[in-house]
């Protein structure tokens, strides 16, 4: 089957329209033979960043492995909206066990494939930030330190969205969630808490750690492709805005993800064996306030009074990321 030319615009970016590039530069999604690993008809919300991210990640992994792949899923939105019995959106072999054990289950699948002499079948584990950063973190760290042959993907929407938007260890400061309500002098999530799972992953000195967002899907595909060319434990942390939990318009998912990176609030980088090897530079820096203003979870920073102090603290976080990762004017 020949590749059908597909019009694919990335509105508002500096990217060249795909039609102007050669076929070798086509995205996986632009390929008429893409696998549709997670097919349409599932029950994700309109504008769901996780559904978008998962489709790109798995289709890219399927292409990289020539269709020889098994997916393991933690409990969470992605699992719930894709497999309400007797329906399933998965067109890849897919296993869901529990909320907190997906990395260990994936490690078990990889071990079985190895012992069966089928190491050409690759394993991708998936979880939200709750499943990866919080409840599954022990299993994730174990999978990392054993260097199990798994690409583990965290779709980070910065909270427990499936259970009704509660705070996770990946929720940013000041964000309103159901368990960090807008009450009191320091409304929303507390400053000085939370963790960076990608940096902790790097501390395991595993072969590959990368961050990505659904704003740069070509970059996301490239990182999956890169990861699947390697063996051992690999970790991909993808920022996936959640219209429900973030209080954003469904049409703004890509936009808000882009503002997260262009403000420096979410650094996009790659690391190998514990060292950063590449960063995605900020091409047109925006103030953090532009990122915050789109999201109802930060509405209390703007009304009834503008909380300049909190916004400044948020800007300081972004500035620190920019310095730390050399996101502006650094060596690329």
């Amino acid at each position: 089957m020949t590749t059908r030319p597909v019009a694919f615009y990335q509105v508002g970016t500096f990217a060249v329209g795909n039609r102007l590039l050669g076929a070798e530069a086509d995205t996986v999604q632009a390929d008429a033979e893409r696998t549709n690993s997670i097919t349409s008809g599932h029950r994700a919300c309109q504008g769901c960043g996780e559904a978008l991210g998962a489709r790109y990640v798995l289709d890219a992994a399927m292409r990289a492995t020539e269709g020889s792949m098994v997916a393991v899923n933690a409990t969470g939105c992605l699992e719930v909206f894709s497999t309400p019995y007797p329906e399933s959106s998965w067109r890849v072999p897919w296993l869901h066990s529990l909320f907190g054990n997906a990395p260990a289950v994936a490690a078990g699948v990889a071990a079985a494939l190895k012992v069966k002499g089928r190491a050409e079948v690759r394993v991708v584990g998936q979880a939200g930030d709750g499943g990866a950063v919080d409840i599954g973190f022990g299993c994730l760290s174990g999978m990392f330190e054993r260097n199990d042959d798994v690409l583990f993907v965290c779709y980070d929407n910065q909270g427990y969205m499936n259970t009704g938007v509660q705070r996770s260890g990946a929720t940013p400061p000041a964000a309103r969630t159901a368990t960090t309500p807008v009450v009191g002098d320091a409304p929303g999530n507390v400053f000085g808490q939370g963790k960076s799972a990608p940096l902790i992953a790097m501390a395991h000195e595993i072969p590959y750690v990368a961050t990505a967002t659904v704003a740069d899907l070509r970059d996301l595909e490239a990182k999956v492709t890169r990861a699947m060319a390697m063996r051992g434990a690999r970790y991909l942390h993808v920022l996936v805005p959640c219209p429900l939990g973030w209080g954003t318009a469904a049409c703004d998912t890509i936009r808000v993800a882009r503002l997260a990176t262009e403000s420096g609030f979410f650094p996009v980088f790659e690391a190998e064996h514990g060292e950063v090897v590449a960063v995605s530079p900020i091409r047109r820096q925006v103030p953090v306030v532009d990122y915050l203003r789109l999201q109802a979870r930060f509405a209390h920073l703007f009304s009834p009074t503008v909380r300049e102090d909190v916004i400044a603290a948020m800007q300081a976080r972004a500035d620190r990321n920019i310095r730390r990762f050399g996101l502006i004017g650094g060596e690329q």
Partner: protein, 393 residues
Amino acid sequence: MRRQLEGSRAVALTVARCRPEVVCAYPISPQTHIVEALAELVRSGELTPCEYLNVESEFAAMSVAIGASAAGARAYTATASQGLLFMAEALYNASGLGLPIVMTVANRAIGAPINIWNDHSDAMSQRDSGWIQLYAQSNQEAADLHILGFRLAEQLSTPVMVCMDGFVLTHAVEEVELAEPSQVDAYLPPYQPRQVLDPAHPVSIGAMVGPEAFLEVRYLAHRTQLRALEVIPALAAEFGEVFGRPGPSLVSPYRTEDADLVVVALGSVLGTVQDLVDELRADGVRIGALGITAFRPFPVAAVRAALSYGQRLVVLERAFSVGGGGIVTPDVNAAVSGMDCPLTTVVAGLGGRPVTRASLRRLLADLPTDPLVFLDLDEAVVARELARTGGVS
């Protein structure tokens, strides 16, 4: 070949001959010697092909086994006590997904107070987890139950827990007839999963099931367990043919036929009970013992068949439902329904306290009327504590 072996080593050598393809290990006493021995067998190449994973918790151990089993590998792990509780969530998941994992539980008490010694609190707490539970009386039976366990698990596509008393069996050296590899190979064919994660035939395993089908899933799991009551005797008969010694049975009656009194128990304490039966029989007391090997599924018909109308029953419980009573007792009561068997529950040997012939003999000589008795309870300690705290007795 008969050899003097530590129970853990006998189990490890037997498990290795069952050719597990993925073994996950996390240390907890008194199970540790089993996974240590398996590590050595894998490293030395005696057990190959096998992936041996040192995991970071029991929860991960069971989770790795779940992934491995779903991907078509024969998976094994071992645990005890707190470790079994830590993997509790994954136990229900393994049985719900119908994955034929085999696990040794070196039975141990649960804290607090922390206690490493033997009782059945750990496995009994997972009574309803959907796992088949088989209790070994001796190291020979522990070894044999693993061979039968793998076959049973894979035939029914359901997980099997082999329970052996911590320290009392795991650390005891006694003579064991080790199964020859050729015999095990003849008895236990390679694992053929019912469904498997395979890119050539993608399946979704672990979907979300709502009210419309959940009851049916649970009911079918129950049916599967009940089938084990027919399958175990058949597998035991075949075991006898292949290995030249009797295979494990659902229950094991001992001198029960004309008995006025029968002591019902699980596990290694049956050795003590049988010795006591012999002693009392010599004194003219008509007493017998009934060992229960399969606790889940509970062999109602076999228990009923082994007992007689009007027999006095003593159920020796190595675990205890605080605020309730015995855990095996309700099952025995249900089995003898309508048989007019007066029953006394005796809670004994918690946290490794020895269950001695002398104590049992004293108890049986003058069986209290109270339906719930605590063997060798130190009344002075209890009275002192109640007085100190002003508690009510």
